[in-house]
């Protein structure tokens, strides 16, 4: 049964990939959505059955087949449903289904074969993502891990004729590969250390051990895995691919680059909570990296003009939060935020997609404005999403983010907490900046100073400012509304005090035997939590206020600020020049060294030079030696005599 969950989308993929060209769009869409919905249904049933099991043995394991056997290395393709993965499959199939449905409308202008291709990729993604979350060992997880990377590559580069899109896809894949480099080494080290790659067995073998106090094998191992996570989840230093990934169709951004795939890193840490828990050094690093990423991405998001890029940096920032949570050992809080984030960020992306759809591909915030009237559904749903992410009380983002900040503070990481709070302020500001710039005010008529990336999907007409805009078609509207409801309600699974989610997830974060010991630690201080809640609510509100001031009431003030801090603004606008630095410091040197140093230098000149040099020496020697053969018989006679003299001389004088 668990096998069916990833298998269904895979079947959908195969159908669409094989016959997609020959069937109609409707059929292709139905196949794709159908397989996802059925998969969701199966997931729901599976989760229901899981929940009905007693807490102590809440896991369904299904070994599909033995995958690789080599000596003592034996990996079976095993899927395992436990509370953590249960939550994830619900997110993946649920939000996945919604986005499939949304896409049927959003991608409608593509040609038949492209449409089928799109859905086949999307199905394939879902299949791999489900494998990722269901995998019971590192290697199966890695299959999904890489598979989603592949699909991300394919979908980012979906409009392959646009060089920027295919570049972005390639960049995503390669940056992810850098992370995978760490992940692979981490797996290797794990196998060498534990003799297995199974999550359960690793956790069990660690249960009796205390955390590592120095930077030892476990720290190394977890750090390597974390490198993998930074790649997949776009953390410093590997976050650069995610903003570019916005070249893909917007539903893809929503599904892959907001709701599911990018959270894989967080999920992976959660999955290995016991392991990471034994490596406090790594956790510190995770927390710091997460926080730094959150802050950095938040600042960048402040000044970006492309609506999807703002959302992308926002995603990066929120992912930073999740890592912060993981870093301070608040596993459940991190997963909680992952869960809520999936809803509101998917909502925001799909909302922005609706805007872009309506504006025929326009993504530049400066050319939007006043859409509130024309796109009411989009407006309101987007507004709910913005409120949720900003951390307005009683919405989902509030609870999850607050949980993280509380845990951080409670864990004694005051500095991290401070930065987290600051980021929370930024979140509110940039989110409402988007809200205000896009939906309020008047539509800007003139072209902006410098052109934003033009996103024109094939089939879309050039943006026309005078066309009457239609709000979203029903399929999209339905999805937006569902997600909006989700964004409001998702937080209530883990309202402070009840800790339902935490308790549900707990078996996944603890090795069986040690469950009791960890539980004691998880006691909460409700008084402190209340105080902090007030603080963060205030921060969120002030953020919205600032946004209101600068971007709705006094836009001129925003421009003045930008002018006054022109340097800072430029740095932020150019995303701290990270791409440029990478290009100059890594990419170009490698290319130059490879081309001029290794290929044309070492290969052609040194090695082949040596090889040909041997040939030349032989040839040259040949030319010299043949000259001895002058053609004069007297010279030949001298040669004979020379031989005689030498041989006789050897005997006479030796």
């Amino acid at each position: 049964m668990v096998t069916l969950i990833p298998l269904l989308p895979l079947v959908g993929f195969l159908l669409n990939a094989s016959f997609g060209r020959r069937i109609s769009k409707a059929a292709a869409g139905q196949v794709a959505c159908g397989s996802m919905l059925v998969s969701f249904g199966v997931s729901a049933i599976a989760v229901w059955r899981l929940v009905s099991l007693p807490t102590e043995s809440r896991a369904i394991t299904q070994a599909v087949f033995t995958w690789i056997t080599s000596g003592d290395f034996n990996v079976s393709f095993t899927l395992r449903l436990d509370p953590l993965s249960a939550l994830m499959i619900l997110v993946v199939t649920g939000i996945g289904s919604l986005i499939h449905i949304y896409s049927t409308a959003y991608m409608h202008e593509e040609s038949d074969s492209e449409y089928a291709r799109y859905f086949s990729y999307l199905n394939l993604f879902a299949a791999f993502m489900l494998v990722l979350v269901l995998g019971s060992n590192f290697l199966v997880m890695f299959v999904g891990w890489e598979g989603v990377g592949l699909c991300s590559y394919l979908l980012i580069g979906f409009w392959y004729q646009k060089p920027s899109a295919s570049d972005a896809g390639k960049k995503a894949f390669i940056v992810n590969r850098i992370g995978d480099f760490g992940f692979i080494l981490g797996m290797l080290l794990a196998f060498v250390r534990f003799g297995t790659l199974d999550f359960q067995e690793i956790a069990r073998s660690l249960a009796t051990l205390g955390p590592e106090t120095t930077f030892g094998t476990l720290s190394m191992l977890t750090l390597l895995l974390f490198v993998g996570a930074t790649g997949k989840s776009a953390q410093i230093p590997l976050f650069v691919w995610l903003p570019d990934a916005m070249e893909g169709p917007t539903p893809v951004s929503a599904l892959i680059h907001a709701a599911t795939m990018v959270t894989a890193g967080v999920y992976m840490i959660g999955r290995n909570a016991v392991l990471f828990g034994h490596a406090p050094q790594t956790l510190t690093i995770v927390a710091i990296v997460g926080t730094a990423t959150a802050l950095m991405a938040g600042t960048i998001a402040l000044v970006q003009n492309d609506i999807k890029r703002v959302l992308a940096y926002s995603t990066v920032s929120q992912l930073g939060y999740m890592f912060l949570a993981m870093g301070v050992g608040a596993w459940a809080a991190g997963i909680f935020h992952l869960f809520t984030h999936a809803f509101f960020k998917a909502l925001l992306f799909l909302g922005s997609g609706a805007v872009i759809h309506a504006l025929a591909g326009e993504q530049d915030l400066r050319r939007m404005g006043g859409l509130k009237r024309e796109l009411p559904i989009t407006y309101w749903t987007f507004f709910i999403g913005a409120l949720a992410i900003a951390g307005v009380p009683l919405l989902s983002g509030f609870f999850s983010k607050d949980e993280i900040l509380y845990r951080t503070f409670a864990g004694g990481h005051v500095w991290l907490w401070t930065v987290g709070l600051l980021t929370s302020l930024l979140t509110a500001i940039y989110m409402f900046r988007v809200q205000f710039l896009a939906f309020h005010g008047e539509r800007a008529q003139g072209a902006p100073q410098h052109a934003a990336p033009e996103h024109s999907a094939p089939g879309h007409l050039a943006p026309s400012n005078h066309r009457h805009l239609h709000d979203v078609p029903p399929a999209m509207a339905f999805v937006l509304v569902v997600l909006a409801i989700g964004s409001v309600l998702a937080g209530y699974v883990g309202v402070p005090g009840s800790n339902r989610l935490e308790r549900f997830l707990e078996p996944s974060f603890t090795a069986r035997e040690a469950a009791g010991a960890e539980r004691a630690e998880a006691a909460t201080d409700s008084h402190l939590e209340g105080t902090l809640m007030v603080v963060s609510t205030a921060v969120a509100m002030s953020g919205i206020g600032i946004a209101l001031y600068f971007f709705l009431r006094h836009r001129r003030a925003a421009d003045e600020m930008a002018l006054r801090f022109a340097g800072v603004h430029r740095v932020l606008e150019n995303k701290y020049y990270v791409d440029e630095i990478y290009d100059q410091a890594i990419v170009q040197p490698i290319r130059i060294v490879s081309e001029d140093g290794l290929w044309k230098g070492v290969d052609v000149r040194v090695i082949d030079g040596a090889v040909n040099g041997v040939g030349d020496i032989v040839g040259g020697g040949s030319e010299v030696l043949r000259r001895i053969q002058t053609g004069s018989v007297r010279v030949y006679a001298v040669s004979v005599l020379l031989g005689v003299v030498l041989i006789v001389g050897y005997y006479v004088w030796r």
């Binding site: 690789i68 000596g71 074969s113 080494l185 290929w599 070492v602 090695i607 090889v611």
Partner: protein
């Protein structure tokens, strides 16, 4: 006497070649010639499958052994046999040869008969290399294989074919002649030890070889194999040979010929000279790791698709050598597996590049672009093969690479660490090439009219893709027969060099 299936694997292609010799060489017979050759090669493939089905996967010993005295005075015998390591390489050879023949269907019209004859002769020699259990016999096939390949490159190749062909043959010979001397020295030692000459591999395994002799003989063997693999810095013949060879030549060259080097390391160099192997393994690994990174970096900047794939072979085979140098179960098994993978996926890449160059008569990446719009099916297959080459889990490349890295990591984490960068780099150069060829707008008019895959080309590519997926998803089918033989070989090496192996482990 049971049916001499291994001999028939060697003899059948030769018989086919002789049959072809009898066919009159003119225009009308071209189809006949091709069909005969194809039929023979398919038959051989079927026979390899038959061999596999009869093979006892649980046994580590050589099976289907045939032994006939050949030059009895020197203990040279015609001794053939297969174990798990060679079995699959035979299957691979049988698998790729018909595809190579098919790939030449439209590109080779000149001297078709000779072309088919040479392909069949190569097949025979390759089979011979993999089944030989006698060092002399092995060397005979090893050297004999050079000639038809030389002609394939030299006659049906591209512009600089003569240079490439000569470079290929001289480079390879220069390495292998020293191996010949080492073989002779071994036989001589056997004579000194037992009073009789022998070139029998199994007897050589039991021979106590003094340390210093191991040292030199290992060097000689390793040089021959390193050139064949090719290991950095002995690789420069490869790009030339690959680029200039016709598609079929490249496929066979990359698919099978290069494996002879790594096969030789596993079958001969390591088990025969365990102490020297233990001593040299770190150096081999060093070269392998350099090769992985170097090959990848150089591949990245190639303007020519074939050259790019050629350098990628340097990188991939670096992995194989690394796995062998690690000398543990996962390393060696992964190495053998990776040999198969590389045969399939690089063979596939060359086939695809060949198809492109059949259509456009250029291999320069810059000449292409936007093909996905024009030939979507071709590009789809191209993508799968590319991903296989990158080592995407679920496809074949990953299994081998991971096992090798695991083996290497157990032996030397540092080596594995450096080697793993190949994972990043392979993605970089392959995807970059893939992107430049297939994505973007069609900026070159000539590409706009390209036709998509023909039924013949489907027939070539479908088996490749099927193998890629099968080997990625169910690797155990292939790993199972490999396992016992690898263990036996490892035991041999460990017994021969207990101290050193231990020392290096740390």
């Amino acid at each position: 006497m049971p049916f001499p299936i291994l001999t028939s694997l060697i003899a059948l292609p030769v018989a086919g070649a002789i049959l072809l010799l009898l066919v009159r060489d003119d225009e009308h017979n071209e189809a006949l010639v091709r069909n005969i050759a194809l039929a023979v090669s398919v038959l051989v493939f079927a026979e390899t499958l038959l061999l596999w089905s009869r093979f006892n996967a649980g046994s580590a010993e050589f099976q289907f052994v045939e032994r006939h005295a050949w030059i009895p005075e020197f203990g040279i015998s015609y001794a053939v046999g297969v174990d798990g390591i060679s079995l699959l390489l035979l299957v691979l050879t049988g698998f790729l040869t018909p595809l190579a023949l098919l790939s030449s269907w439209e590109s080779v019209h000149r001297k078709t008969k000779a072309f088919c004859i040479f392909i069949l002769l190569i097949e025979s020699a390759m089979m011979g290399v993999f089944v030989s259990l006698d060092l002399f016999l092995f060397y005979v096939f090893w050297d004999a294989m050079l000639i038809p390949m030389y002609f394939l490159i030299g006659i049906w190749g591209y512009d600089r074919r003569v240079y490439a062909a000569v470079k290929f043959i001289l480079y390879t010979m220069a390495g292998s002649v020293l191996m010949l001397l080492a073989i002779l020295a071994l036989a001589s030692l056997h004579n000194a030890a037992t009073g009789a000459y022998s070139f029998d591999l199994l007897k050589m395994y039991d021979l106590q070889i003094p340390a210093q002799m191991q040292f030199w003989c290992f060097l000689a063997f390793a040089l021959a194999f390193a050139i064949k693999v090719p290991l950095f810095p002995f690789h420069t013949w490869l790009p030339d040979a690959h680029v200039e060879a016709p598609t079929a030549g490249s496929v066979i060259l990359a698919g099978v010929l290069l494996k002879m080097g790594t096969y030789g390391l596993v079958r001969f160099a390591f088990p025969l000279f365990p102490r020297a192997a233990a001593f040299f393994a770190p150096y081999l690994a060093l070269l392998a790791v350099i090769g992985i990174i170097y090959g990848a970096l150089v591949a990245m900047v190639q303007p020519d698709m074939k050259k790019l794939v050629a350098y990628s072979s340097v990188s991939h085979l670096g992995f194989v050598v690394l796995g062998i140098a690690a000398m543990n179960t996962q390393g060696v098994q992964g190495a053998v597996y990776q040999m198969l993978n590389h045969g399939v996926s690089t063979g596939g890449l060359f086939l695809i590049v060949g198809m492109l160059s059949d259509r456009r008569h250029t291999r320069l990446i810059s000449e292409y672009g936007g093909l996905k719009r024009v030939v979507p099916h071709l590009v789809a297959v191209f993508l799968i093969v590319t991903l296989s080459s990158i080592g995407l889990p679920g496809l074949n490349g990953f299994v081998g690479e991971f096992l090798i890295l695991l083996g290497a990591f157990r032996w030397s984490p540092r080596a594995a660490g450096f080697a793993a960068t190949g994972v990043i780099l392979s993605a970089t150069y392959m995807l970059w090439m893939f992107q430049r060829v297939n994505y973007g707008p069609v900026h070159n008019e000539k590409n706009a009219a390209m036709r998509d895959l023909s039924p013949r080309e489907w027939a070539i590519l479908v088996p490749i893709v099927a193998m890629i997926v099968l080997m990625g998803v169910l690797p155990n089918i292939f790993l199972r027969p490999i396992g016992p033989s690898v263990e036996r070989m490892l035991n041999q090496v460990r017994q021969g060099a207990p101290v050193q192996i231990q020392a290096i482990r740390n």
